[in-house]
Symmetry: C4
Subunit: 250 residues, 4 copies
């Protein structure tokens, strides 16, 4: 086993959008994806395991075992305007650069096979200060999308987009997929519902999704709980940052 | 060669249980597995080599050479109640995360081929204090097994199960295998016969195995000797812990 | 995906020379290659992606996304004396040693397929002092080439040639390709147009290329800009050095 | 390319002995192998390249390029008593544990194909003191060989045999090959001709080889020169030790 996708059900979708929501800075993407899944009643249809995930199990409060995994959910758009979605959710990214490439490749294989031509990746942009109203930053594969995002109040990301959020857009472009990346400002040290809110609001606007944001705190709390079962507290999130630094080698 | 299994004999077993006993914290699993093998007269039937094991040889007291290896033993249950067993024993785990995944995958291939549907993994739970009566902690793949373990006095593991002990249960579940993990409290700095005793007592209860515990110290002493030939003293066991920390990256 | 080459156009070339120009010390090769591409109007014909490149995206000033990539350009020699060229340009080398070997192997596959028998690699030779007139250092696959380089004023490299610059020549020789490596002295902490100038002058002499050097500063400035979008300032170039040190293991 | 063997000539040998002589502690094996090759006039017949070797080139004094490589030489035994030999020589071992396993696997493939059933590996045993008369330490695959070595004055190695010297014997045993390992005491900080002498004397005794030791210093000096061209001085040999320590993980 290197990176395997176990397809439980093959949904029939119409031009779906792939939304990425794996753990990262401030767990912004993770909270957003979980909230989308819960509010839209998205259905689990595939499970991804990789030998570049951690080699441990975690136990839940009831003694049940959980494992490092990525999952794919689908949602069929309601009414005329809402887009079909494929949501990538999980409790980890791959631990190595080749593992990240392979993970993204497999996810894109599935998405492509379902007719996906558009990718949205989410994340947090770490700022070293208290954030009252998180700013929203974007990058896009094309000028039209970028203009639309800027017109709705996002600013341009200056710098790098780490991990799966950057890689999916880059590798997707090789397959002719378009898309954008949205990052919300966050101190980054805890699952940040406030940053997730600004990111998710924009995603919903762009994709004409109707999602109630009232229970976003519940998703943040659930994310914190998964996080803790994975032994990840404040300090370990700092570790995440250190690992990323290793990538600055050129 | 990446990870190869050399099958010397293919035993015919009835619904065997796979018991994992590789080196880890306090060498609890290692002592337990060795003791089971010796007391039950379990037979070696397969040898596992991996390019993720160490690249060195060690020499025994007589000048003979030993190598990093995992071995599989079988035991045919005596009488009506005793289960058939496959015991995974060895002097190392794989040194890398992908190596651990591959090792577990190969071991599960063999176990599945022999008709195994149930996995028991063992280990130590490090505590930073002197342990008089080691507490016993558990996780399980299903509620019935968990209830049985709790009913017999084990407590729920809160946290993570590192290495092969966690991974085998997780990867086994993908193949429809059930099972449980047992960890005994241990300071973790030496082969801990006392922790192995509480773990092994519970394993024997759960699997209706009749095993004399009188010579458990002999297995602990043999484990210490292998350990020393591998250059592993007190300090290096601390290394093991450091390596595990590297996995906390998410 | 591990290391893939996407061929957009297959040029017909006559005994072309492969010129390597990936990022490295002082970005000497990178500036030189970019300048050659721009001045000669070389055409992009292939794109190389590797899972050993960084797993991130960077955003340009306009919000557009860029990714770690290597590119191959070709130039058909003008007149009778100018050689056909294949130029390897990019914003990164591979991050791991096996990744470097694989990248070079794929690039040599393409070059061989186009009829290439000659490789020129470029780079900087770090010196711990201010450089007024950068010295030029060389190594070659054969005595004739070496004598020609020495006759034109280059000195022999004493030491090691790191990364793709060394590896391409070494792996090319296994395929019967000849070639040389040129390093210009540089403090190495910034894109060094002065060092690129002495290197490129010699390349043009050796290959009878007519290239105006007037806009070399533009190529250096463009290199600095790519560099900054990759988050690489003065400190990170020091990182590059540290990584290289890791290779001194024997 | 991962690990490739380029066979230039396939010698016909009778039950040859494989002698390992790659760089390691005190360069004892490296000096010994080079001396054997030179004194016996052994012929180069195969070249091994691996993507786990270093990704750089080195330049010789004349500006010619050299690369990380392993080489295989053969010697046909003279007279009735002298054994046919296959000598593994090179300027590096693989940099990673999986690379070491693969390298040894490929070398054993070649040796097996030539009818080899016996492996001799050499090395230095680091001691933290001045060595007047280097002690000789051994390990063996079987009791008869061990007894013969002990009878000739070697002592039993207590501890570990790192790298290719240990791995070749271990992996060879899986193919039914027998053999022994000889380590000479050395401070380990420079190419140690004195340690190579005691090791090589014993090898010659065991294999009935007639080799003049008069020019052993020449081989040591040549080894030092290769070593320096690889940038390896006193400090870096210490690095080698540090790398080995990384392997002490479990």
């Amino acid at each position: 086993m290197v990176c395997n996708v176990l397809i439980r059900e093959k949904p029939v979708l119409s031009d779906p959008v792939l939304i990425e929501g794996l753990p990262g800075i401030g767990f912004v993407a993770n909270i957003s994806a979980l909230h989308l899944i819960q509010e839209l009643g998205a259905r689990l249809f595939a499970e991804v395991r990789s030998s570049s995930f951690q080699d441990f199990a975690v136990t839940g409060k009831g003694g049940e075992t959980r494992f490092p995994v990525n999952e794919l959910y689908y949602h069929k758009g309601r009414g005329d305007s809402e887009r079909d979605l494929v949501v990538l959710y999980g409790n980890t990214q791959a631990l190595t650069t080749p593992g990240q490439y392979e993970l993204c490749g497999r996810v894109l294989d599935v998405a492509e096979d379902l007719g996906c031509h558009y990718i949205v990746t989410l994340g947090g942009l770490r700022v070293d200060r208290k954030v009252d109203v998180p700013g929203l930053y974007c990058a896009a594969s094309d000028v039209e999308t970028l203009d639309e995002l800027l017109g709705r109040g996002a600013k341009v990301i200056k710098g790098q987009i780490f991990g799966v959020a950057g890689l999916l857009v880059g590798l997707g472009r090789l397959r002719g997929m378009r898309g954008f990346c949205l990052l919300g400002e966050t101190p980054g040290f805890y699952p940040d519902a406030k940053a997730a809110r600004v990111v998710l609001d924009m995603v919903c606007e762009m994709l004409s999704l109707r999602v109630d944001m009232g229970r976003l705190d519940v998703a943040a709390e659930a994310t914190r709980s998964v996080l803790e079962s994975f032994g990840l507290g404040r300090a370990e999130v700092g570790e995440t940052k250190r690992r990323e630094s290793r990538h600055w080698l050129i």
